[in-house]
């Protein structure tokens, strides 16, 4: 055997083997790279999809609490009504003085009333929720003030002071303070706060709410028909505007 030739062929073989190895490594590197791209892009796409779905879900108006067959509600002589009786539209609110969402709607409603006052009748009904420990008492405070003709002033004070009295252990003192501020007969207010009539009035509102499918506060009825809570002032304003226009 020619040593020269054998040397060459050995070198060739080695080169060949090295070439194969490099090709295999390159192939593996490429495959690993592809796998990494696939991993990270699927993670990013997955996260993006989930975020998109969640955001969409959370910005949809809540579908709860709207009965399949909308029940019409009527105003009763026992209702607290603000506005002229000849008004074009009637807005009934089932509300809870300690409910933060109701507190958020309070300035919106006040502004709406200012704007539509002559064409809008506003009714407040109690729907104190279990989880709000002072809601029932606050409702009775409003009733007690109502017996002295100052329900709406008390209604405003209760919502404006919500953040303060809601966290107190004995908010009675604050409610009596409000009564004093409104110039009410304090003895009478105190008595009415605990009276059977007051409790009954609140309870009757709550029962009437249960009957028409109220399960959250605030719940609004526009001309007797339940509506989904408008998300802001403008939405609410448009809704009322439409109702008023459809009447005329």
């Amino acid at each position: 055997m020619n040593p020269e030739h054998s040397h060459l062929s050995k070198k060739e073989r080695r080169q060949l083997r090295r070439g194969e190895r490099i090709a295999a490594e390159q192939h593996q590197t490429r495959r690993r790279f592809t796998r990494r791209i696939a991993l990270w892009s699927s993670v990013l796409i997955g996260i993006g999809t989930v975020v998109f779905m969640i955001v969409k879900l959370s910005t949809q108006p809540p579908a709860s609490g709207v009965p399949v067959v909308p029940s019409r509600i009527e105003i009763t002589p026992e209702d607290w009504i603000k506005g002229e009786s000849g008004s074009k539209v009637v807005l009934v609110e089932y509300s809870d003085f300690q409910c933060p969402a109701c507190g958020t709607y309070y300035p919106i409603l006040k502004q709406l009333y200012k704007e539509f006052g002559d064409r809008l009748q506003f009714v407040y009904r109690h729907f104190p929720l279990e989880q709000h420990r002072h809601a029932d008492l606050a409702a009775r405070a409003a009733e007690a003030a109502g017996r002295q003709g100052r329900i709406w002033e008390m209604h405003d004070l209760l919502f404006e002071g919500q953040a303060t009295w809601a966290n107190q252990n004995h908010p009675e003192e604050m409610f009596i303070g409000y009564a004093r501020q409104l110039g009410l007969d304090i003895e009478r207010f105190r008595a009415d706060l605990d009276s059977r009539e007051g409790k009954k009035a609140v309870e009757e509102d709550r029962i009437s709410g249960n009957r028409v499918g109220v399960n959250s506060t605030p719940t609004f009825f526009l001309d007797g028909v339940i509506i989904q809570n408008p998300r802001n002032y403008d939405e609410f304003r448009n809704l009322l505007q439409q109702a008023i226009e459809s009447r005329s």
């Binding site: 969640i54 955001v55 959370s58 910005t59 809540p62 709607y105 998300r231």
Partner: protein
């Protein structure tokens, strides 16, 4: 050379189920916190329900830190955990796992603080916040378990 081999191979010390749970729980936490963040910004949930505590917690003054909603911080936290786990699966560097495991203490402490606020200060429970608290706690436990397994193997 030795380190190269071990870094390219799945960790033998930390079982796969720990990694899988880590991924699942952090993703649940992320989805939960994202939902709360979206709610925070959209401002839709303007109602208090008979069935659950209302938006008191998410609208309280504790819901933001320097103007940033806590829910958003939570979402970023869970996402960071989730992505570092993916990075660990990709690069197989043990350090990433150790760091992530230690990092879960942050979530645990934050959650403990928010549960305390809900129970004793705001006195209202927000179900989605509680889901997050549970997720953080489980992540912490998984993290400690991962660290322990690693130490034993060393």
């Amino acid at each position: 050379m030795n380190s190269e081999i071990s870094s390219n191979r799945p960790s033998r010390a930390v079982p796969n189920w720990i990694i899988a749970s880590f991924l699942v729980i952090s993703f649940i936490g992320f989805a939960d916190a994202t939902y709360l963040t979206a709610k925070h910004y959209s401002g839709t949930p303007l109602e208090c329900s008979v069935f659950e505590s209302c938006e008191k917690v998410t609208t309280s003054r504790y819901a933001t830190v320097l103007g940033i909603p806590v829910a958003l911080l939570g979402a970023i936290y869970y996402l960071a955990i989730f992505l570092s786990l993916i990075a660990y699966l990709d690069l197989r560097r043990e350090g990433i796992l150790s760091f992530t495991a230690l990092f879960t203490i942050v979530g645990l402490l934050a959650s403990a603080w928010f549960v305390y606020l809900q129970l004793f200060v705001i006195q209202a429970i927000c179900p989605y916040c509680m889901v997050s608290a549970v997720a953080s706690t489980v992540l912490f436990l998984l993290g400690m378990l991962a660290l322990k397994k690693k130490r034993v193997s060393c």
